[in-house]
């Protein structure tokens, strides 16, 4: 990637200088690599004195905070509060033996309620989706697990929304707070999930409450950002109007600003729900019950049929919640004409109440409508297994050959090559890329991200992560970008592709692991395939968006000059779409980093595996060090690609201005 990057920078940069600093840096990198045999060992791998015991320091700090300052008492008190809420939702949804001891609510009642909610928010189609999901869960005998999952989300999502809202408002109100918050959010959003979990285990323990807490922590950042964004966008006229009607500061905030920012805030709520679902499976590593735990067990037992069924359930829940919360965000408040009767204004509520009572009575008479017992549940596991096995018999010679070829011819040589490079070469290349794209500042920023990784002592593992991400994103680009170009050919096709991408992005990341484990078993190639598919989605999406978002005048100009379709694509559309494409690459890398860490449970050899060990040993220091290493890799790539994108965008604008 760095080669094309440098070429491009060359065409953008000033050509009058014979030799630029970044070229010198690149030459230095080259010399270091070629002369590896002559280098002192301290330049090949970070020398002992350079490696600092960050993990011991962090552990000491955590011990101090936890035991000497007694923070553990506070966190456990908070956890007890959360546990109380979980007990209530747990009792209502699946009859956990806790206060108020009235549950579980019969599934038929939930079915009626969700269908009505869907109808109220989005008409018959949403009603069918919501009702169908609930029906599937109940009939397939997955009620209890699904309700265990939902009972945690039902607590985590509101807490997260509230926390995000308050923090967002505070950041909007106090600039200084925002300045502190922003880098924290950046790091938080690029930290892998496992890294969060270890401190949570230390401070909260394991079990559903820990699952809820880690879910909250993970889902707060987008809410904060969107609240902030919404409040920023409130037009000053609206605020003026509020002031003129004599509103106090508090009234201005609660009655004017927040309602005006409603759409952004509700999209934030949607994001929170989706992030909660993304955590469903991962949080089961620290004791979150429900679908995630079940899926993990089934996958680990290599029982593809049941795992597939649970996967479908998780996807259905994700898509339903996504569509419902989006419909809610887009809904305009309804105003009734004065004089409408109470019953008319609350028509849907009344219908719901009637149906719910009917369903409840039915459940009292026929137990099947209360809870579907283990023996009564339908299962597709048998047929799915049969289909999968038949399919595998056909493709396994092919996948086996592919796997062998990829491992022997591509992956191992590439991995060995990356591991062979002296770390100083990597540092020089990174600095050169930074310098080429954003001058000495960017070079310093990049070094500030990567040098600490060298100082942690996890260099080799980090390079294996880099190799996996690099390979996966490259392959993803090889088929994702042509896919995107093809899809952008027709507006209707583009719309449909974007819809598919949207839906794929609502799938919790773990889902992607099911089919690859099926096809490739537990191996390097399986990891790569999962990472690749996951990373391809944003690439397709941004390619389509970049190509369809071009102003028609530009294309017409090309046509008038007699450009063929290929020429138009090559010389006009792709260059103009390039900045958007870079944003796609950026997301793709982020997704890949997340996925590669999650894939640790298939058996990888990189930072993710070490992180899983750290989680097992509840070694906070090691876990956070590894987490920061991954976050820094992500932030470095983010910095480089965003700089590049900005640069190309201004270049394009200038060129357009000249034309």
């Amino acid at each position: 990637m760095s080669a094309s990057l440098d070429q491009h920078a060359a065409s953008v940069g000033n050509r009058s200088h014979p030799l630029q600093t970044w070229q010198i840096l690149l030459a230095l990198a080259f010399v270091l690599a070629v002369g590896k045999a002559l280098l002192p060992p301290g330049l090949v791998r970070p020398p002992e004195w350079m490696i600092l015991p960050f993990d011991d320091w962090i552990n000491a700090a955590f011990d101090f905070i936890r035991n000497d300052l007694g923070l553990v008492v506070v966190t456990r008190a908070i956890a007890d509060g959360i546990e109380w809420c979980l007990d209530v939702t747990g009792n209502l949804l699946y009859g956990r033996n806790r206060w108020p001891r009235i549950g579980p609510v019969p599934w038929s009642v939930v079915l009626v309620s969700m269908t009505m909610l869907g109808y109220a928010l989005g008409g018959w189609r949403l009603a069918a989706l919501a009702g169908g999901t609930i029906l599937w869960i109940a009939v397939m005998g997955q009620w209890r697990w699904s309700m265990e999952t939902l009972s945690v989300i039902l607590v985590a999502a509101p807490v997260s929304v509230l926390l995000g809202l308050v923090t967002g408002v505070a950041a909007w109100r106090w600039r200084a707070f925002e300045r502190v918050l922003n880098p924290l959010l950046n790091i938080a959003q690029s930290m892998p999930h496992f890294a969060y979990m270890i401190p949570v285990v230390v401070f909260i323990g394991v079990g559903p409450k820990a699952g809820a807490v880690v879910t909250i922590i993970f889902s707060v950042p987008p809410m904060i950002r969107l609240t902030l964004l919404g409040l920023r966008k409130v037009p000053s006229e609206v605020v003026e109007a509020g002031k003129m009607s004599g509103a106090s500061q508090w009234n201005l905030l609660t009655r004017v600003r927040i309602p005006t920012a409603r759409t952004e805030i509700l999209i934030g709520v949607n994001q929170v729900i989706m992030q909660c679902l993304a955590m469903v499976v991962l949080a089961s590593f620290i004791g979150m019950p429900g679908l995630g735990q079940r899926l993990l067990q089934m996958l680990q037992a290599l029982r593809i049929g049941p795992a597939f069924e649970i996967g479908i359930t998780i996807v259905l829940i994700a898509v339903t919640l996504d569509r419902l919360s989006r419909a809610w965000a887009m809904r305009k408040p309804v105003h009734h004409n004065p004089g409408t009767s109470w019953a008319r204004r609350h028509r849907l509520w009344l219908i719901w109440a009637g149906l719910a009572v009917a369903a409840w009575l039915l459940a009292q008479m026929v137990p099947y409508f209360h809870i579907v017992a283990r023996g009564q549940a339908l299962s597709l596991a048998g047929p799915i297994n049969a289909v999968v096995n038949a399919f595998l018999d056909v493709v396994s010679p092919f996948t086996e050959a592919l796997r062998r070829f990829l491992i022997v011819q591509v992956l191992i040589p590439f991995r060995d090559a990356i591991l062979w490079l002296p770390y100083t070469t990597v540092l020089a290349v990174v600095a050169a890329a930074g310098w080429a794209l954003g001058g000495w500042r960017s070079a310093l920023v990049c070094l500030a991200f990567i040098v600490p990784i060298a100082m942690t002592g996890w260099w080799d593992r980090a390079m294996i992560t880099v190799y996996t991400v690099l390979t996966a994103v490259t392959v993803a680009a090889l088929f994702g970008i042509p896919c995107g170009i093809w899809a952008a050919g027709k507006p209707s096709r583009a719309r449909r592709t974007l819809l598919v991408c949207d839906t794929l992005q609502t799938f919790p990341s773990f889902i992607y692991l099911i089919p690859v484990v099926m096809l490739f078993g537990v191996s390097d190639v399986a990891v790569l395939a999962a990472v690749m598919v996951f990373a391809a989605v944003p690439l397709v999406r941004y390619t389509v968006e970049g190509l369809t978002g071009i102003a028609p005048e530009m294309l017409e100009a090309g046509q008038m000059n007699g450009a063929t379709r290929w020429q138009a694509l090559r010389h006009i559309r792709l260059p103009l779409a390039f900045p958007t494409l870079l944003v796609g690459f950026n997301q793709s890398v982020m997704f890949a980093l997340f996925m590669v860490i999650i894939a640790a449970f298939i058996g990888t050899q990189d930072l993710g595996q070490e992180m899983q060990r750290a989680l097992s040993a509840t070694d906070v220091g090691k876990g956070l060090v590894l987490g920061f290493a991954v976050a820094f890799l992500g932030l470095m790539v983010d910095h480089l690609l965003m700089r590049w994108s900005d640069r190309v965008r201004t270049g394009n604008r200038r060129r357009q201005g000249a034309a």
């Binding site: 394991v206 089961s284 620290i286 680990q300 058996g603 060990r613 097992s616």
Partner: protein, 302 residues
């Protein structure tokens, strides 16, 4: 919550001891049983769950990391663990015991061993086994594309925290450790190897169903000593039952059942077989086992 309940129970017990003979009643709070990632533990947990439910207790299961669980028991977040393997968990268990809050409520008759292991067909291809030096001498027959010319040792999931990497380094073995993601992945690889009688050496343990399906032997490493790296795991390890200190007070009758629990090697292997070979759900396997062995577990009930 638990704390409070525990305090209340303590206070009530105190009050009663002055007022007359104390009736030891189990608390109505649920007993939380952790589930790990190998079959016999899951099935045994469900068997215990069924027994406690019959005893009138309320029971909940949570999935938990098999190392982190001892810290969780110590704090009273989960309340017991039915399979504490010496080779894998003695370290975490002892560390938690040193801090207080957790103790061994009993021990199974079963003798455990976890070690590098090979199926019998390997023996013809590598003379001199089960000696570790012989194994090391023919390391290259275990090579795979991933490991190049070094042999592959297929280890268990990383959260079992085995010291295989350290051992390979300390003993200078010609092997690369590749960790499988789960126990099932180990069996899948073993079954695949069986088809062509491909040489394979992997992590295995007893009691386990695998001994019945694939006859094989453990590799003999230098015997285990406290803290050694260039040696094997203990050859006759214990299998204990861990419990939270507050358990006896909160659920005396459930605790009594727990401490009477005592399984043998064949029984544990059978539990694993029901899931790993027969393909039953762990819950169903627990019921199936209990139907077969009614006398065994009835004897442990109150």
């Amino acid at each position: 919550m638990q704390r409070k309940a525990c305090l209340l129970a303590g206070a009530a017990a105190l009050a009663l001891s002055f007022g007359g003979p104390a009736m030891a009643e189990d608390s109505s709070d649920p007993i939380i049983i952790p589930i790990h990632n190998w079959s016999s533990q899951i099935v045994m947990s469900h068997i215990l769950g069924e027994m406690l439910t019959e005893n009138g207790n309320s029971v909940e299961f949570v999935s938990a990391d098999s190392q982190a669980v001892y810290e969780a028991i110590r704090l009273g977040d989960v309340h017991l663990q039915v399979e504490v393997w010496e080779g894998a968990f003695a370290e975490s268990f002892d560390a938690a015991r040193a801090q207080g809050g957790i103790h061994a409520a009993g021990a199974h008759d079963a003798i455990t061993r976890e070690e590098w292991w090979y199926p019998l067909w390997v023996k013809d291809q590598c003379p001199g086994l089960p000696d570790w030096e012989a194994l090391n001498a023919c390391a290259e027959i275990f090579a795979t594309p991933e490991t190049g010319d070094r042999g592959r040792f297929l280890g268990g999931p990383v959260d079992w925290l085995k010291n295989d990497h350290e051992r390979v380094e300390a003993m200078d073995l010609n092997f690369t450790v590749v960790n499988a993601g789960s126990a099932a992945a180990l069996w899948a690889e073993l079954a695949a190897a069986e088809r062509n009688e491909t040489p394979i050496v992997l992590f295995n343990w007893t009691p386990n169903f695998a001994e019945a399906v694939w006859p094989g032997e453990f590799v003999e490493f230098p015997p285990w000593e406290e803290g050694c790296l260039a040696c094997g795991h203990p050859a006759d390890g214990y299998l204990k039952i861990a419990a939270w200190d507050g358990m006896q007070e909160n659920w005396p009758s459930a605790y009594a059942i727990l401490s009477r629990l005592n399984f043998t090697n064949p029984q544990i292997a059978e539990m694993a077989r029901l899931v790993d070979v027969e393909g039953l759900d762990p819950e169903d396997a627990a019921i199936a086992w209990m139907e077969e062995n009614e006398d065994t577990w009835r004897a442990w009930m109150n």
